[in-house]
Every structure is written in C-alpha cells, then in structure tokens.
C-alpha cells in the first residue's frame, strides 16, 4: 500500500474498494472449498487456486511489494515444500502404521471411518497449501520480471 509502487491500479477507487471488499470472501471461500472438499465438490487443488487468486488480485491492485509483505517469497517457497511434505507425510505415516501408502484406514483414532476422514483432510490440506503457494510463486516470478523491466 505504499505510494512508491509504480502501479497505478490502486489509484482507481472502484478497483480499490471492490477488491478490498472481495478479497476476504475469496479467501474465505477458498477455505470453505478446502475443508468441505472431502465431503462435497471441491478439494485442495481448487481451494489452492482460489486462495492464490485472492492473493493475485491483491497483488495486481496494490502492487507486488504489498503482497510480498503479506506473503513473503521465502514463505511461498517454504510452504510449497511443506504442502508436498504434508501430503507425502500422511502416506509415510500410513506406511509406518502398517498400511499401504495413503491407506487412511490405519490412521484410526477412534475407528477406520475417522481414519479416512483425517487422512483425506490432511492430504487435501497439503495439496491446497502447495497449489496456493506455487500459484503465488508463479505470479511473483512473472510480476517480478515485469517490474524489473
């Protein structure tokens, strides 16, 4: 939100106001899609994309620096990795508990049903994190090239 950014979109009041109003619901919707994904339509991939879309919108309107202040590139990189690790980690844990890779049955806290629930939840979360941060990373990369020029 600094004035120094060369981008001028933030100067346009409609864009600024509308996007400010829209970004929170977008992020919230992303979380809904994420956490509802194991029961209804949706899932980590869609959620990640939606979440990233919110960030991209923010970046487009308020500039790269602003969005990178919110979501620093180093975190983007780390979270990309963390998401994959979360996904894979669930598989590895299920192996360690005596099942096949990604066999959630064995994650039975109270029972297999809950195991399935927990497993899919964590896996989808991993996917969501990775997709969101990867998308953001791509945006950062291209936007960064544009700024440099």
């Amino acid at each position: 939100m600094t004035q120094k950014t060369p981008m001028r979109m933030q100067d346009k009041i409609i864009l600024r106001v509308v996007s400010k109003a829209l970004i929170p619901p977008i992020l919230l919707f992303a979380l809904y899609v994420q956490f509802h994904g194991d029961f209804g339509p949706g899932g980590g991939f869609q959620a990640g994309v939606i979440f990233a879309a919110g960030l991209v919108l923010f970046g487009v309107i308020f500039g790269l620096d602003a969005v990178q202040e919110v979501f620093p590139p180093i975190w983007v990189e780390i979270l990309t990795a963390v998401g994959v690790l979360l996904y894979g980690g669930v598989g590895v844990v299920s192996i360690m508990l005596g099942g096949e890779f990604l066999n959630y049955d064995v994650l039975h806290l109270p029972g297999p049903m809950h195991g399935q629930h927990l497993g899919i939840f964590l896996v989808e979360l991993g996917v969501g994190i990775t997709v969101a941060s990867a998308m953001t990373a791509i945006f950062y990369f291209f936007a960064g090239r544009a700024t440099k020029r």
């Binding site: 990189e77 990795a81 994959v84 598989g91 005596g98 096949e100 890779f101 959630y104 297999p112």
Partner: protein
C-alpha cells in the same frame, strides 16, 4: 463405476520390503520439498545423492524379487486394483527402474555442487529439487500400473525437465525449454486424450484391466483413435523421428550434466511406456496383426537411424552431435519393436539399457570438456587427447560402443537387432543396420580425429584433466558399457525374458 466401500481395518503386518514399489517413487518426491526447506548446498547435494543411491538399492532389490517371485502388486491407499491405483512391478519395469535409478546414482554426484552448471549459488537447492522431481516422475512412470498415473508422472518429469533445461546458459536454453514445453505439452495432451478415449470405452484406467476389457471392443474406431493418440503422444516424448524436433536443442542447451541425465533416462522411460501401451494395453496381436504397426514404425525407425546419423555427421557442436546420434539410437530401439519377434524386441530393450550407459557416459565426457574449455564446439576440442587423456579415452570407448564394436554394449544390441531382422526375413533391414553403424563410424571418427590428430591451437586456453568427482561417474558409465559388452548375458537374458513376456502373454 460404483465406488467400493473401504475395507475393514485388517491388521496385516507388512515389512518395509512390501512398500518398496511406492518408496521408490515417494522418496525422491519427498526429498524434493526437503531440498527446498534445507537450502544448504552441501546438505541438499548430499541428500540428492543419497536418494539416488537409495532408489538404486530399492530398484535392484525389486528386480531381484521379480526375477525370483514374479510380479509385485502394490495397492496404493489400500484400494485394490482395478479400483485403486496399482503399482505393478514386473520384469520390464523392474529393469527400467534399475536403469533410471542407476543413471541417477551415477550422474547426481558428478561434479562438485553446481560446478559447471553456471548456477546462481542461491538457486542450487531448487536445481536439486527439480532434479529429484524429475527422477520421481521418471520412476513413477515406470512403477505405476495405472494409465492416468502414468500421465501424472509424465507431466511431473516433463515439467521438471523443462525447468532443468532452462537452467542452461543463455537465452537459447530458455527457447529450447520453451519449444520442448510446447512439444511436450502436445505429447502429454495426446497421451491424455488417448487415455480418456480408452477410459470412455472401458471404464478403467488400470493397465492390466484395460487389456482385458479392451479385447471385446478391440477393433472399434474409438480404440484405434486412442491408439493413434497414445502412440503419437509417446512418439513425441521419446523423440521418434519426425517427432524429435525438441530434442536436439534441448540436449544442446541444457547444462551438460542434465543432458547426460535426460539423454540416458527420459527417452528411455518414454520408450518403456510405448512398450507398455503396445504390448500390455493393446497386445501384440492387435498391434502387429490387425494394425500392422510395423508398416509405419519400420520406415520411421529407419529414417531415424539414417537422418539422425547423417545429421550427427554434419554437426559442429559436440552436444548436438550426440543429440542427433540419440535420435538414431532411438530409431534402433523402435526398429526392434517393429520387428515384433523376440530377438528384435530384446534387441530394442537391451539397447535401451545400453544406450543409457553409453550416451550418459558420453554426455558426461562432454560435461567435463565444457567445464574445462568452456565450449562444446567440436573444433575447440582439438588436441584435447593429450590434455585430458582419461576423459578423452572415455570418449573413445563410448564412441566405439556407439559404433557397435564387439566387446562393447553397442555390439550386443546390434547383434540382437540383426538377428531379429534376419529371423523376420528382412535381410535389407539387417544390411541397413550395419550401414548405419558405418555412419556412426564417421561421426565418431570425426571427433576422434579432432581430439587426437589436431594440435591445440596457439593461444588456446590452458586445460587440464578434470578431477575425480567427474572422472569416476564418467568412467563408471563407460566402464559399464564395456563390462556389459563383455558379460552380455547379464542384460540380454533379462531383455529376452522380457521380450518373451511382452510378446507371449502381453503382461
């Protein structure tokens, strides 16, 4: 498809060995994000090497297991085939897994850190992450028994390789990566369309299941169209002439170490998937009797052999020369397939293994040269025979193998190919195989002539031998090319068994 209910928790005690098929794939998959998190160069490099060697150990164990006990099936998530994703290891892909992980195990340690890659030191961890993802994709393609899963891993490996190629010097590397991306995407899409059509027809994605369900409808238009999309899509991936256009630039402009890794593995796995599609999904009868694929594949293979070799002769850049030579060598492999008999197919399969070793070794030699002289121009290699004797000796041996001199692996594969051609009654083809070997003599000799018989030009950069971290991997691959040339029965037996398996039951 009605979804089956997940089965009740049954406490089956599995040992770590049972998980090897999946561990093979997820170890590099998880190591890649770890690389990103760790960031420390030495640590990342050490981990990548460790992962590669672990994968090699796993794949060798798998191969042994398959040879002794037969096919291994692993149900991911506990969902049995054909509903869940199945990892299915038989003789053929156990063999491919060994090739890929062995090449990785040798190539990853090559050179110190990012040396020779001209990488921004801050990006080295990303380089290794991409490399590991590429390995993961390649191993995944080989290990999985699910057609859609193949596509996923194909994309993982492809995306990783685009970024790896883009790491090469200059803008041309970017352009090469870009055109590879376009072509690769076309290939991937074709492959996906093919799978989609098959899924539409049969309702299954499991390869073995696909085979069974396809039999009643095998002659239908949908199946033929699916076949065409799959083969052309894969043709692009494995750089079959004239779908090879991405390859020369990609191999030329990628960092030499990456060229070595990709040349030795990527097209090989593509070839493996082609075999799977042709023989396991569609079956030899459909491919050779109904469609008579050889009518198209044979001329394409021969064209690949000759165009590749002739173009290799005319190149001025050593990496480009090797890239065109690769196109010719891929021609040999598909030629073996087009023969449709045990000897020919075994020749193609054994050439897959052999070419991985010799071309990997040769590209490593080039990596050494580029690192020392800073150029990949053939003319700039003048007089290197005296300056880098060990490296250049490796080039000589690799080159001889490329020609197919007895006591090298190149001879073994050509032997089976010629045998297969004669058995098929294709005497002219046998002759052409020998003739194209002569072309290989020319392009190898061209380089040797420069290396050994030309003086190093006045005022040229003073160069010396490379260090052990590069020499040892190079000579392991080149040495393997000789070792397996002398002990040909080690590889050819597996190839013959595999060929019999593919042609016999299709499984």
């Amino acid at each position: 498809m009605e979804a089956p209910t997940p089965h009740e928790v049954e406490v089956v005690h599995r040992t770590l060995t049972d998980h090897l098929p999946i561990l093979q794939v997820i170890i590099p998959l998880l190591a890649a994000p770890l690389c990103v998190l760790l960031r420390e160069r030495a640590l990342v490099r050490g981990m990548a090497i460790g992962v590669a060697w672990t994968c090699l150990a796993i794949s060798v164990t798998l191969l042994q297991h398959v040879m002794e006990h037969g096919v291994i099936s692993y149900a991911v998530g506990g969902w049995d085939a054909p509903f869940g994703i199945e990892y299915r290891i038989d003789l053929l892909n156990a063999y491919i897994l060994v090739v890929v992980s062995a090449i990785a195990a040798v190539v990853f340690p090559f050179g110190r850190g990012g040396e020779g890659l001209a990488l921004n030191p801050a990006r080295v961890h990303l380089f290794y992450a991409a490399l590991l993802l590429c390995l993961c994709g390649l191993l995944g393609m080989a290990a999985t028994g699910d057609a859609f899963n193949i596509f996923v891993f194909l994309e993982i490996s492809s995306l990783a390789s685009y970024s790896l190629i883009a790491l090469g010097r200059g803008r041309r590397a970017l352009r090469a990566a870009y055109s590879y991306l376009v072509m690769g995407t076309i290939g991937g899409t074709f492959f996906l369309i093919g799978i989609g059509l098959l899924y539409q027809t049969t309702g299954t994605l499991n390869i073995v299941d696909l085979h069974d369900r396809l039999q009643p409808v095998i002659g239908s238009r949908t199946v033929v169209v699916a076949f065409a999309f799959l083969v052309v899509g894969l043709g692009i991936k494995l750089a079959l002439f004239p779908l090879h256009q991405w390859l020369p630039n990609a191999y030329t402009h990628a960092p030499a170490k990456i060229s070595a890794f990709l040349a030795a593995t990527a097209t090989k796995v593509g070839f493996y998937v082609l075999l799977r599609v042709l023989f396991t999904i569609f079956g030899a009868t459909f491919v050779f009797t109904t469609l008579r694929l050889h009518n198209l594949l044979l001329p394409m293979s021969l064209a690949a052999m000759f165009v590749g070799s002739l173009a290799a002769i005319a190149q001025t850049d050593i990496k480009r020369l090797l890239a065109y030579s690769s196109i010719a060598q891929i021609g040999y492999m598909t030629l073996g397939v087009s023969m449709g008999n045990v000897d020919g197919l075994a020749g193609g399969i054994v050439h897959l293994f052999n070419h991985a070793m010799m071309k990997g070794g040769l590209f490593l030699v080039v990596a050494c040269v580029v690192l020392r002289t800073g150029s990949a121009k053939i003319d700039d290699m003048a007089g290197l025979g005296r300056k880098m004797p060990l490296t250049m000796a490796a080039f000589v041996v690799g080159g001889l193998s490329l020609i197919g001199v007895p006591a090298t692996v190149g001879f073994v594969s050509k032997w089976y190919l010629v045998k297969g051609a004669l058995e098929r009654g294709w005497e002219p083809v046998a002759l052409l195989i020998l003739l194209s070997s002569l072309l290989a003599v020319i392009y190898v000799w061209r380089v040797l002539e420069v290396i050994y018989f030309r003086e190093r030009p006045e005022g040229a950069k003073e160069v010396g031998e490379v260090d052990a971290t590069m020499l040892i991997p190079t000579w392991i691959l080149i040495g393997a090319a000789v070792f397996f040339g002398l002990r040909a029965e080690l590889t050819s037996q597996v190839a013959l068994d595999t060929a019999r398996m593919l042609l016999g039951t299709g499984l």
